[in-house]
Amino acid sequence: MKIDRKIVPIIQYFVLLFGMSIAAIFFQKTPGNMDRFFIIFVLSLMYVAWGCWHHGHLDRLDRLVVLEYSIVAIIVIMLSALGLGIIRFF
């Protein structure tokens, strides 16, 4: 079965929203700060992968786009490390 190319981005949006919803549920169910940080860490990595997949499909994937997704993910990871008091575990 061939999926219409125009439908694919919509599916990609739902995949991302589904992933974020699952992460939110896990986050809410997990009391530990380190575990919560790990959830955000994994979500951020998946976000970069999603960005490459999404923009690749649209033929708009270039170095700057990958860089932007990567830096946003790094910022989110660092904000979480700072905000969740993760340094005490190092």
Binding site: Y47, H55, I71, V72, I75, L79, G85, F90
Partner: protein, 309 residues
């Protein structure tokens, strides 16, 4: 006009606002890295710079715990000096042997401390906390954790003991809070609901804060008032003005939230003007950047900097 393009995308250059361009984003990463490094140095490498400053008080912990129980139509718990003595012994043992757990490295269980204090029990439980700066936050954190909440709202317990002890754990100054619950052997067993099992049960939560003294329940006759007067002997507690590890981490927490909100706002403004000016450009997905940042901000907001065990 140049200043405006710090926040608003340029319709000819077809790029993001200057504060959202890769160079600026790298700048935020460098800034965050600097804050994390300074934070680590303050907390771990310069412990002498930090003092103890805590607003965690046994009396407040007792009141807040009992208020919570009353809200759930449960009987209030009475302070028991033996349980408080056991809680203090547990906290001192954690500092002395540098661990943060219900069971010590040598295998001592919470009930070992309880029995050593002379308190013979039918049911007992333990909640721990560390890195909290006020009593309400401690009880709220326990209440938000299902296993600790089970202890707080158990109808099996009739007595409670607390210790708030300052010391150094894993190379940083902090305050530990130990909360022990008990139902004494020889108590009014008929007053309790039918137990599910006759096996002793342990429930362990977490709490801790920084100080240079010990706050425990007073020795003497058993308290019967739900909110007794608590003496604070042998306590050196400094409130407010002294920088401590949990203060540093709390400041960092708010910095993370503010920076996250600032970036989210920049992306909102950028996205709005791109739509309004009809700019076509190849960048990442603004909406999902915002969503990810908001996820992190909410996560930080709803997570205590302190830990419970």
């Amino acid at each position: 006009m140049k200043l405006a393009h710090l926040f608003i995308p340029h319709h000819i250059e077809k790029k993001r606002a200057k504060l959202l361009q890769p160079v600026s984003l790298v700048g935020y990463v460098v800034f965050l890295l600097s804050v994390i490094i300074v934070n680590s140095i303050l907390v771990f490498d310069l412990p002498r710079v930090l003092g103890y400053a805590t607003n965690v008080k046994v009396a407040d912990l007792l009141v807040d715990t009992n208020i919570l129980r009353q809200q759930h139509n449960l009987k209030t718990l009475n302070l028991n000096p033996q349980l408080s003595k056991a809680a203090e012994a547990k906290a001192l043992d954690m500092f002395a042997n540098n661990y943060w757990a219900h069971t010590s490295p040598s295998g001592k269980e919470p009930w070992d401390f309880i029995l050593a204090s002379g308190y013979d029990y039918i049911y007992a439980g333990e909640n721990l906390a560390v890195d909290f700066s006020d009593s309400k936050a401690v009880v709220r954190a326990w209440d938000n954790s299902p296993s600790h909440r089970d202890n707080l709202l158990s109808d099996r317990y009739t007595e409670i003991g607390f210790a708030v002890v300052n010391g150094e754990l894993d190379g940083r100054k902090t305050t530990l809070v130990v909360q022990l619950f008990g139902y004494p052997r020889g108590g009014d067993f008929a007053a309790l609901p039918v137990p599910e099992s006759a096996v002793d049960e342990l429930v362990v939560p977490e709490v801790a804060e920084n100080t240079v003294g010990i706050e425990t329940l007073p020795a003497g006759p058993q308290q019967t008032s739900p909110i007794p007067q608590v003496q604070t002997e042998n306590i050196i507690v400094t409130n407010g003005s002294v920088l401590n590890a949990s203060s540093v981490m709390n400041v960092s927490r708010y910095m993370a939230i503010i920076l996250g909100l600032f970036l989210s706002l920049l992306f909102v403004v950028d996205g709005y003007y791109v739509k309004r000016l009809g700019i076509f450009r190849i960048t990442g997905h603004t909406f999902f950047h915002i969503l990810l940042l908001v996820f992190a901000i909410l996560g930080i907001w709803y997570t205590n900097i302190g830990l419970v065990l």
